[in-house]
Symmetry: C2
Subunit: 572 residues, 2 copies
């Protein structure tokens, strides 16, 4: 494809001096220095300096150019007097012979400078201008590169990239669905898929053996900073494979991504951590291993003293950190609130300074050799299932406060040996920890001792974020029936909840399994931003609004009439 | 990625004789010949014959295997006695040492044979079984290969693959939108995009310069055989380019597709046909040039005779074909009905056999040298705008009836020089032939003589199907305002209809344009099927139903309540 420019604006160097060139782009900056006009011409790739002399026949026109005007210039490359070593083209400038004004621009509503001061709301409304800034474009270019790298690894492994429907069906469990009213069937609805899970398993039933897709998924949930109502998933499924095969493939995907896109190296195989170790040591099923500060069990030590706060508690766990001055009494109150927010009962603390023990429970402690000089020990008593997540959250908070995290590090690891089931003691029934199609490691244990049953499931974690998860699926009817029985489903419930999919499993389903990677999160971590909106071209706000499109919006009454629906006002 | 099989079932040949192998797959066929059991083992790639001898310790188990059971076998490759030269593995068989039953299967509801007799409805309901047949899988594998080939050409040309939202906004013109009720904003709706048109133009405004996407698009229209409610579009846009650049790029896309996927060659550059020639000669804006039979203007010849049917008609046009016996009186009635269906006024005909002229208007003709021996001339009088499409439709029908089309041919061409506007004489106003952002070839003609204004628009046609279309877009405000003025829009209408997009054009929009290719149609033509459902993994019926999912479907009342909508029954 021939574009009519001779070079991008990041290309010209001293090697090009004397050449006649044609450039196109936007007026990024214009200065007049003693009659000489200098223009920074910007395109997607970079910036080239133009120079226009006072005797130029178009001098008047060029003087009137404003920021963000689109121009085309032909001219000659000259060596620059005042060189700029910050940019590739800093050694040269282009002496403009002829200029064509391709388009004008009103004064941009938001600043086009790299460090924009504009409010996020304004930037989202004028996203097409915000995206013009090279630092913002960079996120989407990386997204492109990452997607291609992942795709290439899967293609190298002979996976087919296959599509699945967007107009699908509401699923009985999981998150809230986005619905689409049907015009032809009154009162009926399609649903946008929360993931292509069912379809990719059907591809396996159909014998396609190796499937992947860069798939759009939809969840109508209240949003957090790392969630969007529509998100993109690298969806993978294969037949005749084991958990190890999928993990090895995924590691190859990440190793290539680091090597080819991020110019970094990760060491394979990745660490594999047991789910129960992740919880016991990090208080999280997505442990951030970039820093130590592991959770310790102080039950046997502290139970020796008659500390009223700890009396009759199932467990007493703690993390120990440097006794930093920044951890004030006020800070500790904040930590106590955080612990409570995560269902911890209380936070006790001990510090040792100049051999002196202090802190909320210091007066009870007789033998203090479990705490070192200059240490602060943060202690949470209670039920294990509450204590661990509370300390996990506290661990992250303290690490952030004390700058314990090396942000240049990229720690990836697997969490494996997940429980298959969760027991809900209120409802007195089991729930599937992932979904009811996840295969148990041992069907006999599922039958005889369901609460100890482990799943053939695996999550991949990057710097404390879950960036992917998958499992081997149940492919045998007997095991599937056992699973449903354990979950307490009746035959009618199975039919109504899982219908045609259970039917499909009857016809010679091969052993299969897969994984799904959250592309948005992967890009977020790869580009070291913590706002998912940065890596989505046209993102929605926390309240699922597109400020640029002004969507959602009201529609014409005829549209609703055709769809056989009407608005059911809460105010009526 | 290590799979635990040693070979796919299309791999073993005489070169492997004596090797120990491990194979996996489905029991496609099983026969017992004098105690020897032969099994055709099928996987995604092909079939390998297994042989089990009567003395085999698992003989009883193997005897009980049924069609579509999933098995794993280890054994030794032997040269076959009765060779089959139809398949790659036809020279060998595998002497089974050990067999593992991976899964059982109920008797499939639809035939697994290549030539399925099952009804389309049944096949769609059990699509996962239908897809197991190699001939059906082939369509989706080609789809995968075609998509990768197109992507690779665009990547080679430095295009970025960038995503756009699915939860977007209802557009005021165009086809009917699929709507998605918002839970958080009562009475408001998202719309699924009919195409990413606005977003790709915004990528250009934002300076991304070269964009493409394999994009899902949605139209809630009544369906035809070559349409689905959701379809996939290869969406392309670039800045600082001309119509020729986009056409050249598209030709490279198709040349690579033919070469790399179809093992065929197309000659570049493709033919470029004027829109008005397409209409005048083929009666269609998507001419099928695989056969001649061009439309001729017989006005001056036939106006010489006083033929009542032709009196006062604007034009008289005709096609001439071989006077085939199969074109009976009944057939001609059928043709006359077809002409009327396409708004033609009437069909007259003339045939010459053994020097004798016959036909509906034969008695009026004095000088018959315009019709040759053994010819049949089919004549339609009336208004040019009605006559040409009617003859275009008739031309296709006759060609099909007389087997005039060489189905092995692949004729691709461009239709160019489209009118910019269509005049609606009832409403006495102009409409944009494509959309109001399509650039005119000459803004002065648009200003002074709008009905003669041509567009910088281009469609690519393959064997009479439009497989893509695009245009250079308006990038200057003055031209955009002129266009809106010509279309008769008030300032308020512009704001309400095109809102933020017109706003975006103000801020230094670069010259840009693009194209969109209909992937489903491309695959349909590449695989020589005429049913679009063949090339879609999980298709919907003509009435937009997914028979496998049973979607659309009723949902729980709570779901509608949360979305602030209720069903507005037509029966109430």
């Amino acid at each position: 494809m021939k574009n009519k420019y001779t070079h991008h604006n990041n290309e010209l160097t001293l090697n090009n001096v004397g050449e006649a060139v044609l450039l196109k782009g936007w007026v990024a900056k214009k200065r007049n220095l003693g009659g000489l006009i200098f223009i920074d011409l910007r395109d997607h790739f970079g910036i080239t300096q133009l120079v226009i002399r006072p005797e130029h026949p178009q001098y008047e026109l060029i003087s009137s150019l404003k920021s963000e005007y689109v121009i085309e210039v032909s001219g000659t490359v000259l060596e620059r007097e005042n060189k700029n070593n910050q940019i590739i083209t800093g050694q040269i400038e282009v002496d403009v012979k002829n200029l064509v004004l391709l388009n004008e621009s009103e004064t941009p509503v938001i600043s086009m400078q790299e460090e924009s001061e504009s409010l996020e709301e304004t930037r989202l409304k004028y996203r097409y201008l915000d995206l013009r800034r090279p630092s913002v474009q960079k996120y989407l270019i990386k997204r492109h590169e990452i997607t291609q790298s992942i795709r290439q690894t899967l293609l190298n492994n002979k996976f087919y990239e296959l599509e699945t429907p967007i107009l699908a069906k509401s699923t009985p469990e999981g998150a809230r669905d986005y619905l689409v009213p049907s015009r032809l069937y009154e009162g009926q609805f399609y649903a946008l898929p929360q993931s292509p899970q069912i379809f990719k398993q059907l591809y396996m039933v159909a014998g396609f053996e190796k499937y992947f897709q860069v798939a759009k998924c939809f969840r109508d949930e209240d949003l957090r900073a790392d969630r969007q109502p529509e998100f993109t998933q690298i969806d993978v499924e294969a037949s005749f494979i084991t958990q190890e095969d999928i993990m090895e493939l995924t590691e190859e995907v990440f190793a290539n991504l680091f090597k080819n896109v991020l110019n970094k190296k990760i060491t394979l195989p990745l660490q594999k951590m047991d789910y129960k170790d992740a919880l016991n040591l990090y208080g999280s099923d997505k442990p951030d291993t970039r820093f130590e500060c592991l959770i310790e069990d102080l039950t046997s030590i502290l139970n020796g003293y008659a500390i009223p706060l700890f009396e009759g508690k199932e467990t007493i766990r703690a993390i120990r950190v440097k006794n930093d001055k920044s951890i004030t009494r006020k800070k500790l109150d904040e930590y106590a609130a955080l612990v409570k927010k995560h269902h911890g009962e209380a936070l006790a603390f001990l510090r040792k300074e100049n051999g002196q023990l202090s802190g909320s429970i210091a007066k009870f402690i007789e033998k203090e050799d479990f705490i070192l000089e200059d240490e602060l020990v943060l202690i949470v008593p209670g039920k294990t299932e509450n204590v661990l997540p509370a300390l996990g959250a506290l661990r992250l908070k303290v690490a952030s406060d004390l700058n314990m995290i090396d942000e240049t590090k990229d720690n990836l690891l697997w969490v494996v040996n997940w429980p298959l089931l969760e027991y809900d003691s209120e409802e007195q029934r089991y729930y599937a920890m992932h979904h009811p199609f996840t295969a148990p490691q041992d069907a006999h244990i599922l039958e005889n001792n369901p609460k100890d049953s482990l799943a053939q499931a695996y999550d991949i974690v990057w710097n404390g974020y879950e960036v992917g998860g998958g499992s081997i699926r149940i492919h045998r009817q007997q095991v599937q029936n056992l699973m449903f029985k354990t979950l307490g489903f009746s035959q009618e419930e199975i039919k109504s909840k899982f219908g045609f999919f259970v039917e499909a499993l009857k016809y010679g389903t091969p052993p299969h399994g897969g994984i799904a990677l959250g592309l948005d999160r992967v890009v977020m971590l790869a580009t070291k931003t913590n706002n998912i909106k940065d890596v989505v071209a046209f993102p929605k706000t926390q309240s699922a609004k597109d400020l640029m499109l002004e969507a959602p919006d009201f529609v014409e009454p005829i549209q609703l009439k055709e769809l056989n629906i009407k608005v059911d006002s809460k105010n009526e």
